[in-house]
């Protein structure tokens, strides 16, 4: 164990980023899409959406073999697992860290997912039930990895194997805040000394009939099917719900001292994170944004930062009226009048809402915003909702000095999460 000197708590920094997102596989393709303000939403093609209310999705053009997966990995892994492993390998390569030189029991995994291996589960269901005809499924056709689809922990297993991790390994599944919560979990493992390196991120591949049907049923996804490329419209008065997405992001987190000692490139430091629950409704939000505001305040307090230190907010920005007003209220409640001076944007306008995965994809975007000093825009924002009166960075990315960034997530179950990241060296002594 790397023991810090007395009075100097262990800190977690991001040294590697891997992303599989709609619009392109890989970190740089992802960042290029965001900074060019292009959208990756389109008519849904992974299945025939003709009978569905929402027929738009943000899909990854993903060729698992081209992404480096071996045939037996492709056969075994659900699409969500494939995304996670490809992201993890990219993050490890990006970090420049030789994991074989790290004691395996000092490597942890904190992976998030809202709906696990749902595509594999559904596909196998149709086979075993003869397209739903039989309640008593025919077990004789069950493939060996079927159980691996039923338990989402399989996703963390695959990443652990890819990284050679033998420390604490967890799959965190708090719905649409899973991505932030999984990174926060891994940060906690490094800070408390349970690990020196962590693979942290999230993955989801929910673009399948059952997921589409259940979001149709509650009218959460958009029915604006005529113009798919412009269907995700957070903060715009013409928004009509979210666009279902898919993808993964995995980060390499290291203890700050060890990262510095090996001269690693540090994208940013995670200086605060907090979760609160509204205990109100499984899908409904109160307009006051009270619990999200509380999470933001606690995360900033941990970082010993004043609201005025925040230079960019990555919004949850799902594109539902309820969400956009809820979080706008939360920003004002927690940051006061400074909320009006901070650029706020939603990358879901470009890559849709990939449920649990998106939180980690957004942490990756925040780390890149710190590293590149550019904030991504909110695409499709032509006519702001009058109730949403902050600076949402419409249409075009902006060169902007970003020292401290805030990202938030909000999800089913009432969960509200906030995370604060800072450029290396900006925060002297976080974690009060």
């Amino acid at each position: 164990m790397t023991t810090p000197a007395a009075g100097h708590p262990r800190r977690a920094v991001i040294t590697g980023i891997g992303v599989v997102a709609p619009g392109g596989v890989g970190r740089e393709a992802f960042w290029q899409l965001l900074t060019e303000g292009r959208t990756a939403t389109r008519r849904l093609s992974l299945f025939d959406p003709a009978k569905f209310r929402s027929q738009v999705a943000a899909e990854v053009d993903f060729d698992p073999a081209a992404a480096g997966l071996a045939p037996r990995e492709i056969r075994r892994m659900d699409r969500a697992a494939q995304f996670a492993v490809v992201s993890a390998r990219e993050a490890i390569a990006d970090s420049g860290l030789d994991l074989s030189a790290v004691a395996p029991e000092r490597i942890a995994v904190g992976l998030g997912s809202a709906v696990g291996c749902t595509m594999g589960l559904e596909e196998e269901y149709t086979v075993l039930s003869d397209n739903g005809r039989n309640w008593l499924l025919d077990h004789s056709y069950g493939v060996p990895h079927l159980y691996g689809y039923m338990v989402p922990s399989t996703l963390a297993v695959e990443v652990a194997w890819a990284a050679g991790a033998e420390g604490p390994v967890s799959l965190i599944s708090t719905g649409c805040t899973s991505g932030i919560d999984a990174v926060a979990h891994a940060v906690q493992l490094i800070e408390e000394g349970s690990a020196d390196v962590a693979l942290a991120g999230a993955t989801d591949a929910p673009i399948s009939p059952i997921s589409a049907a259940c979001f149709d049923a509650i009218r959460a996804t958009t029915a604006s099917n005529d113009d798919p490329a412009h269907a995700s419209r957070p903060f715009d008065r013409d928004r009509a719900g979210f666009v279902l997405g898919e993808g993964s992001a995995v980060l390499v987190l290291e203890e700050l001292g060890a990262a510095r000692a090996r001269g690693a490139h540090v994208y940013g430091e995670i200086v605060g994170s907090a979760g609160r629950s509204n205990a109100h409704h499984m899908t409904g939000l109160k307009p006051d944004g009270r619990e999200m505001a509380e999470a933001i305040t606690v995360a900033l307090t941990q970082a010993r930062l004043d609201p005025t230190a925040v230079s960019y907010i990555n919004a949850h920005g799902s594109g539902t009226k309820q969400n956009d007003r809820h979080e706008t209220a939360a920003f004002k409640r927690s940051l006061g009048t400074h909320a009006y001076d901070i650029p706020v944007s939603s990358i879901k306008s470009m890559i849709g809402h990939s449920l649990g995965a998106i939180g980690s994809i957004e942490v990756a975007a925040c780390a890149l915003a710190l590293d590149r000093q550019v904030v991504p825009p909110t695409a499709n924002l032509h006519n702001p909702d009058p109730h949403c009166d902050l600076d949402y960075v419409p249409l075009t990315a902006r060169d902007h000095r970003t020292d401290v960034v805030l990202t938030v997530g909000s999800g089913f179950g009432g969960f509200q999460s906030a995370m604060v990241l800072a450029r290396p060296g900006v925060v002297a002594h976080p974690r009060s």
Partner: protein, 406 residues
């Protein structure tokens, strides 16, 4: 790292398990060696090679779950809602009187609302997309139970869900312990699972790990020469964890303390490296600042799979010496409960500490060659118990260990 003074305490136990509803009913069944395993009744198991499982006897959602929530949630969540009510009543605490952000919910789920999901997929594939109901989106996913418990008890702190198959329950309790050390005063933790629907059973059969022994009493025999796999079950336990000062202030009488926790992961297949259970158990003891000699009983994972049993026996013997500590696996009475399994073991261990009785492993009679354990069989063993070690392993390589103290 916790010291004895900062160790969180368990002040309430709520159980919905094949051994009974309620802590005392469960404990009486365990001490009597009364099995909760029976022929599956939730569907006709005739076509399947596995027809027996642990089912919660006489559970009526209508009696124990608010009517509005019955149709909005899966059976798995029903069992947790009932257990959480019982746990809070047992702790004698009213959440309405406590600060909302200082209470949280952290549960484990292994497989989510499988039965609910199978019904909705049937509606989708036999009919049209709009036959899928509004509650599928919040009943099937793994966070359903934590979300519903948070709403029901108005707990607005940092909630969580950890999935690690059978090990996940200890990870949830370990995470609840972290939260109490970071300022939470009360955390509802533990977990349940209930995948005894055709799809759930079919998926479990696909592993090849379930026992197909004809006699259900001889099907799940951990550490036995005749070990042939395990049987599944439903249910689990929800616990009330409190920070020690908070419990002391309100005059609560804790069942025990959570002294140490650790998690580790087995190496990838084919690496030739040792499994992680021994190291993980040693880390949990180190975190508790205890030596092996300080442990009075081990609640083993007891997979009922010869290779896994032998590996676990070696890990325990390496830590405590051959037959160096009493070991037991009361889960032969319930089957493996996945996300609910380890929380139920923790509950049983706390009751054992309270009463100075080690429950026996019903069923196992002849230890397999190489299993050099002091396995408590035949009947409960009276003993002054101060500390217990609970072990759990999850499919794919998860290992977790928790140390409890009186």
């Amino acid at each position: 790292m916790p010291t004895d003074d900062s160790a969180p305490v368990i002040t309430g136990i709520g159980i919905t398990a094949p051994t009974g509803i309620g802590a005392e009913a469960h404990w009486a069944a365990v001490l009597a060696g009364k099995t909760g395993i029976d022929r599956i009744t939730r569907f006709d198991p005739t076509p399947y090679p596995v027809r027996h499982a642990g089912q919660v006897p006489g559970f009526s959602a209508e009696e124990r779950v608010p009517s509005r929530l019955i149709q909005q949630t899966d059976h798995w969540t029903h069992l947790a809602l009932a257990a959480s009510d019982a746990a809070l009543a047992d702790a004698g605490v009213d959440p309405a009187g406590l600060p909302e952000y200082e209470m949280a919910v952290v549960t484990s789920s292994s497989s989510g609302g499988t039965e609910f999901g199978q019904h909705e997929m049937e509606a989708l594939y036999q009919h049209e997309p709009d036959w899928v109901g509004a509650y599928q989106s919040v009943a099937w996913f793994y966070a359903a139970t934590t979300g519903q418990l948070s709403i029901r008890h108005k707990m607005r702190g940092p909630c969580g869900v950890l999935c690690g198959e059978q090990a996940g329950g200890l990870d949830a309790i370990g995470q609840a312990g972290r939260l109490t050390r970071r300022g939470a005063r009360l955390v509802l933790t533990g977990g349940t699972d209930a995948s005894l629907c055709p799809y759930g059973l079919t998926a479990q059969i696909a592993t090849g790990l379930l026992s197909t022994a004809a006699d259900p009493a001889r099907a799940y025999l951990p550490f036995d020469r005749d070990a042939s796999g395990y049987l599944p079950g439903e249910g689990g336990a929800i616990l009330v964890m409190e920070s020690a000062p908070a419990a002391a202030r309100r005059g609560a009488r804790p069942y025990g303390r959570v002294l140490g926790y650790a998690a580790g992961f087995d190496p990838a297949p084919g690496s030739g490296r040792p499994r992680a259970l021994h190291r993980t158990a040693a880390q949990a003891l180190a975190q508790a600042r205890l030596a092996p000699a300080d442990i009075d009983v081990v609640f083993a994972d007891g997979a009922g799979l010869p290779a896994d049993d032998l590996a676990e026996a070696h890990a325990i013997s390496a830590l405590f010496g051959p037959r160096g500590v009493p070991v037991t696996v009361p889960k032969t009475l319930t089957g493996r409960l996945y996300g609910g399994g380890a929380p139920l073991d923790v509950a049983t261990a706390l009751l054992a500490l309270r009463d100075g009785l080690i429950p026996h492993t019903a069923g196992t009679t002849r230890l397999a060659p190489g299993v050099d354990l002091d396995l408590v069989t035949d009947q409960p063993r009276p003993r002054d118990l101060r500390r217990a070690l609970v072990l759990a392993r999850g499919h794919g390589g998860f290992n977790s260990a928790l140390v409890l103290g009186r």
